[in-house]
Amino acid sequence: MTINEKVFKFKVEVILKKGVLDPQGEAIKQSININSLGNILDVKQGKLFEITASSKNREQAIKEVERICADLLTNSVIEEFTYYEVSE
């Protein structure tokens, strides 16, 4: 991190695309319903990443996060992502 750089924090959510089987989500849904915790129609299990970037500006940080999501954190055949900036 150089003197011109700032810290930006993001949360990235990755979830399976519609049509991809999610056996873990299905098992969780069954457990919820069997244990009468609620009447749930569907559960999808995904992943959450917290990323701390050091960049010259917000625009640059967002560009990096998008590249990380597309290149590594998701496989576009089965997953999609959303990200948002967080303060701390």
Binding site: L21, P23, L72, N75, I78
Partner: protein, 189 residues
């Protein structure tokens, strides 16, 4: 044997990506290995028409690098499955299956947790049209779409499969179907 941190391949006829839970299957199976320094050289090798086989985790790495289409996701029953598996040779016009008759049933062991092959509707049709489905499961153990156990690239020079042919190379092991595959490779050079 070539270390994953290498950046160039020596002069080779065939690259084999073996199985084996690279990086503990973190993130997605094969996802982090697909970014290993050596994989750039493997991708170049594919682009110049090199022959490549990916077995199990090696197959997952080939899909993560987009050398092969599709993705491998957890088995529908969420269990690690380790057993002998009947397969059907769906394409015998590849360098790896040319010693088999079309539609022949062969037995090769599987040993995986994330072996369910997935590909979207339009792309699966394209794969079928290109004769990209090489091996199918006779009794689908993991929920793979169209019972797919192994696929090949458009140029038919790259093959990925979840079953382990290297574990079926001696009668004492229960099957020699894997040996037939490696003999196919040799007879094509």
């Amino acid at each position: 044997m070539i270390w994953h941190k290498e950046t160039t391949l020596p002069k080779v006829d065939l690259v084999v990506l073996p199985g084996g839970f690279s990086y503990g299957d973190y993130l997605r199976c094969g996802a982090i290995a697909a970014k290993s320094p050596i994989m750039k050289a493997v991708k170049n090798f594919y682009e110049i028409g090199g022959f490549i086989i990916g077995i199990c985790n090696g197959f997952q790495i080939l899909t993560e690098t987009k050398i092969l289409p599709g993705a491998l996701i957890p088995n529908t029953n969420q269990k690690f499955i380790c057993k002998d598996q009947d397969l059907i040779v769906a394409n015998n016009k590849t360098f790896f299956t040319s010693n088999f008759e079309l539609n022949k049933t062969i037995s090769i062991p599987i040993a995986h947790h994330d072996g369910q092959y997935f590909l979207n509707g339009p792309e699966i049709e394209e794969l079928e049209q290109n004769e990209g489905i090489v091996l199918k499961y006779r009794d689908n153990p993991n929920g793979s779409i169209k019972d797919i156990a192994g696929v090949c690239s458009k140029n038919k020079r790259v093959i990925g499969m979840m079953p382990h042919p290297e574990r079926a190379v001696d009668k004492e092991l229960g099957s020699v179907s894997g040996l037939r595959m490696f003999e196919s490779v040799i007879s094509n050079f």
